[in-house]
Amino acid sequence: MKARILVVDDDEALAEMIGIVLRNDGFEPVFCADGGQALDVFRASKPDLVLLDLMLPGMDGIEVCRQVRAESDVPIVMLTAKSDTSDVVRGLESGADDYVPKPFKPAELVARVRARLRPGDQKAPETLRIADVTIDVAGHLVSRGNDRISLTPLEFDLLVALARKPWQVFTRELLLEQVWGYRHAADTRLVNVHVQRLRSKIERDPEAPEVVLTVRGVGYKAGS
């Protein structure tokens, strides 16, 4: 079955080009040129992934991202002409899993899409623990005591990666490779922002983390 991808971009030429590339690689693109209608199209088409331009008429891409994220865990990849730190971070904080700065290569775009669409490893029944948080890998469940914690797939992958090797300190590059699927060095801000988001969900006190610890100058590791 072809994965359906919603492309939200107001530039028709670019959207068409993206469509050509995606179709070429076996995806099924759906288009939307207006931010205001993006949510309706999203609900109607039920895509497996959203490619979202940040600068949109009608509604800001960041707002669209927030609304989509509010009702779905579908992976969102931003397309951005601005690589300013603040814009990228704002986009990631509003719920995007990854971003591709313009101008991008077709291969780069496809790689990012594929990485987010990974069906997930064949998950054997497995239960992991970090601090007082329990992770049911196969059931995609995270809980503290009886309370369920809701995570996006990306945040879940990030937590599992850390929890599988609690003795290891993960550099940001290593996490980019394992969780995001980057083979080459990419923007480590992705990791920073997602770790912040993960912490805000699973830590009792995000200011004093116990589950995801920072190792100064190196990266992150799981709490004990």
């Binding site: 080009m17 313009k102 077709p106």
Partner: protein, 715 residues
């Protein structure tokens, strides 16, 4: 100054010493004793015999040689006075010395505690002196005024004291002459019958000398001459007024009286009255009673004169102090009027320089200062106008560039994707279309990197670049970058080596930017390295870390090194753009470094390669004072291509002795290839530049000694 104020003459003689000895300051009395021989030659009686004969005959006319004793014949007025000053001076010097010692002790004990405070005060005064024209002027005026008043006061005080003394002396001398004559007349006319009546007569006569009334006008000392040729009159003994002894008479005066005939001499002295010592004049002569010669000294009190003088001096002092203060005040007021507009101008111009362009001077009146203020304001206004114009212009320009870059990105993305699709399908095209697709693809690529750099630069220009710093291991980052450029290095046939003895250095930095800087530097080194190795060294100190990228290629002249960070600047415009760099790489690197408060320096030498040194502060709040690495390599003058060179490897056991051998080797090694070089640049340099040889040497070097050389030998 002290002597000038306290100059009523006092004797420096034994009498004084005794008198002072009864005083509390015994130390002074004993201290003065050794000084006495100095004064003796100057004392009155020594000169008295010589002058007295002339004086007695010539009476009051013969005074040209004695300026201070205008009225009276007896010599010694001047020297006596002088002696008084000298004594007073010494006395005060001694007292001052004792007070000084005590104060010094006090100061010394207090110093330890007060020293920082005093130093601070001194520094503050010094700073004020340097920085405040007004302070300097007022202080100078005050000092000069004090000096002038000291001189004038000394002169006035001296004159007054002199006149007072001379007046009293003249009076004393004439009174003495009269009284001695009276006594002598009484003695001459006395009937020497029995002892008691004689004694009564003599003593009554002498008591009469003291004067009538309750106030003693003069005191006397009546003493038999020690060596009498005739048998002494045993009936009349030596005698003196209350509390007095012969001791109050200076011996020099006695000697002069004894040695002369019937001449009258005087000397300054000090005598006890009650519990205090009073300054006085002793005038001596001889009287004869019944054939026995007696010395008769009359002592006149100078106390009232001294008091008058003290009062005058106090008034002088108070008046002088007041005047000095007033002069200080006047100087302060006047200089303030002149200086305050100037300092106001200084403050305003400082603010202007700091960017507060709306600052203006306050203009009042039409004088020179007002003209200065008006023209200053005029200047500031035109300056502000210019700067605002420029700022608006550059802001507009920056926004334009930024907008253009953004607007270009979306279509560029489409073009790029299309180009890539065509490029991927080029196998199906005929040769012309195929080549076109390739050119399109490559040039779009280049266009895109140029645009990215342009956007980056415009972001710096707009001040929109922010630092996203966090602690990161720079050695790991350098290794990462070297790994990343390996394909390019292989293309050039250069080995990129890493020498990082520190192993791991955690720096507060924005790793994206540092990554970009290092990538730029290393790619630049590879591009200009002529296939020779590129050495990357990392070193750290307590506050800074340095990364040096050294190539041994074509190098550049110092003038070129200075311009290398300029935008779109190329050392040799004719040189082929092999890597397709935008010409903005090093400019962006410089901006990135600036954002980190770091240093980026370039060194080059024609034919000897170049060296780029990046220095970053370890922590954001600590500025760099010195780079841990040196910009100019130690071994510049190495032979370049063609010559045989030894590969010097640095293995761990030898690192300890490396500095010694290096310094020895610098001058002696025949091929000039010292271990310094090896130490600086990982020691895997081969002359013949073939990639195989380089790789081999590198591999050996890596295995031989370096902890952090994992990235070597990728050529």
């Amino acid at each position: 100054m002290v002597s000038a104020i306290k100059q009523v003459p006092e004797p420096a003689d034994r009498g004084v010493r005794q008198a002072i000895a009864t005083d509390t300051t015994q130390a002074i009395a004993t201290d003065t004793a050794p000084d006495r021989p100095d004064t003796v030659p100057d004392m009155t009686p020594d000169r008295a015999p010589a002058e007295s004969s002339a004086a007695s005959t010539a009476k009051s006319t013969a005074e040209p040689s004695a300026p201070r004793g205008p009225g009276k014949p007896p010599a010694g007025g001047g020297p006596g006075l002088w002696r008084g000053y000298a004594f007073r001076t010494r006395l005060w010097a001694k007292r001052a010395r004792i007070v000084g010692v005590r104060v010094a002790r006090l100061v010394r004990t207090g110093m330890q505690r007060l020293l920082p405070g005093i130093r601070y005060l001194l520094r503050a005064v010094h700073r004020k002196w340097r920085r405040s024209l007004q302070f300097r002027t007022v202080l100078t005026t005050l000092l000069l005024a004090i000096g002038s008043f000291a001189v004038v006061g000394a002169y006035l005080s001296n004159q007054i004291a002199n006149n007072l003394f001379q007046e009293r002396l003249a009076q004393a001398e004439s009174e003495t002459r009269y009284n001695v004559k009276q006594v002598q007349d009484t003695f001459d006319g006395a009937q020497v019958t029995d002892q008691s009546s004689v004694i009564t007569l003599v003593y009554d006569t002498l008591n009469a000398v003291e004067g009538r009334g309750s106030v003693i006008q003069r005191r006397y000392v009546f003493e038999a001459m020690p060596e009498q040729t005739k048998p002494r009159n045993r009936w009349v003994e030596s005698r003196a007024s209350d509390q007095l002894t012969i001791g109050v008479i200076p011996p020099e005066l006695r000697k002069a009286v004894q040695d002369s005939g019937k001449d009258q001499y005087w000397a300054s002295t000090q005598f006890p009255v009650g519990t205090e010592d009073r300054p006085g004049i002793a005038v001596g002569n001889k009287v004869t009673f019944n054939g026995t010669v007696y010395e008769l000294y009359l002592i006149y009190d100078l106390n009232t004169a001294q008091k008058t003088l003290d009062e005058i001096q106090n008034v002088l002092l108070a008046g002088g102090a007041l005047l000095v203060l007033m002069i200080g005040g006047v100087a302060w007021y006047v200089t303030r009027n002149v200086v305050s507009p100037v300092s106001h101008a200084a403050v305003v111009s400082e603010k202007l320089a700091a960017g507060q362009l709306q600052e203006r001077m306050v203009v009042k009146g039409e004088d020179e200062v007002a003209r200065l203020g008006a023209s200053f304001n005029h200047m500031a206004a035109s300056l502000q106008e210019q700067i605002t114009q420029l700022a608006t212009l550059s802001q507009m320009q920056q926004r334009f560039v930024s907008d253009v870059s953004h607007e270009l990105r979306t279509p560029l993305t489409t073009v790029r994707m299309a180009a890539e699709v065509l490029y991927d399908a080029r196998g199906d095209f005929d040769p012309i279309n195929k080549r076109s697709a390739e050119l399109l693809y490559n040039q779009v690529e280049r266009f895109q990197s140029l645009l990215a750099d342009l956007l980056e630069i415009s972001r710096f220009d707009a001040g929109a670049a922010t630092l996203d710093a966090e602690p990161t291991d720079i050695v790991q980052l350098v290794a990462h970058v070297i790994e990343g450029v390996a394909p390019v290095a292989a293309e050039y046939g250069s080995a990129v080596t890493l020498n990082a003895p520190a192993g791991s250095v955690v720096v507060d930095m924005d790793d994206r930017r540092i990554d970009r800087i290092l990538r730029n530097l290393i790619l630049n080194a590879l591009e200009h390295g002529e296939g020779r190795p590129v050495n990357v060294s990392v070193a750290a100190s307590d506050t800074a870390v340095a990364v040096a990228v050294r190539d041994h290629g074509i190098g550049m002249a110092p003038a070129e090194a200075a311009r290398v960070f300029d935008r779109f600047w190329r050392a040799d415009p004719a040189r082929a753009r092999t890597t397709g760099g935008s010409g903005l790489g090093l400019s962006i690197a410089a901006e990135d470094t600036k954002l980190h408060d770091g240093w980026l320096q370039a060194w080059g030498s024609k034919g000897h390669g170049s060296n780029f040194l990046l220095t970053l502060p370890l922590r954001r709040d600590e500025p760099i004072t010195k780079s841990p690495l040196q910009l100019e390599p130690v071994n510049v003058g190495l032979p370049v291509a063609g010559s045989q060179r030894t590969v010097v490897l640095l293995d761990p056991p030898r690192t300890g002795e490396a500095p010694a051998s290096a310094s020895g080797a610098r001058g002696t090694m025949a091929d000039g290839f010292t271990e310094d070089f090896a130490e600086d640049f990982t020691g895997d340099f081969t002359g013949d530049g073939g990639s195989g040889a380089v790789g081999g040497a590198t591999a050996e070097g890596g295995s031989a000694g370096h902890r952090e050389t994992g990235m070597e030998g990728r050529a």
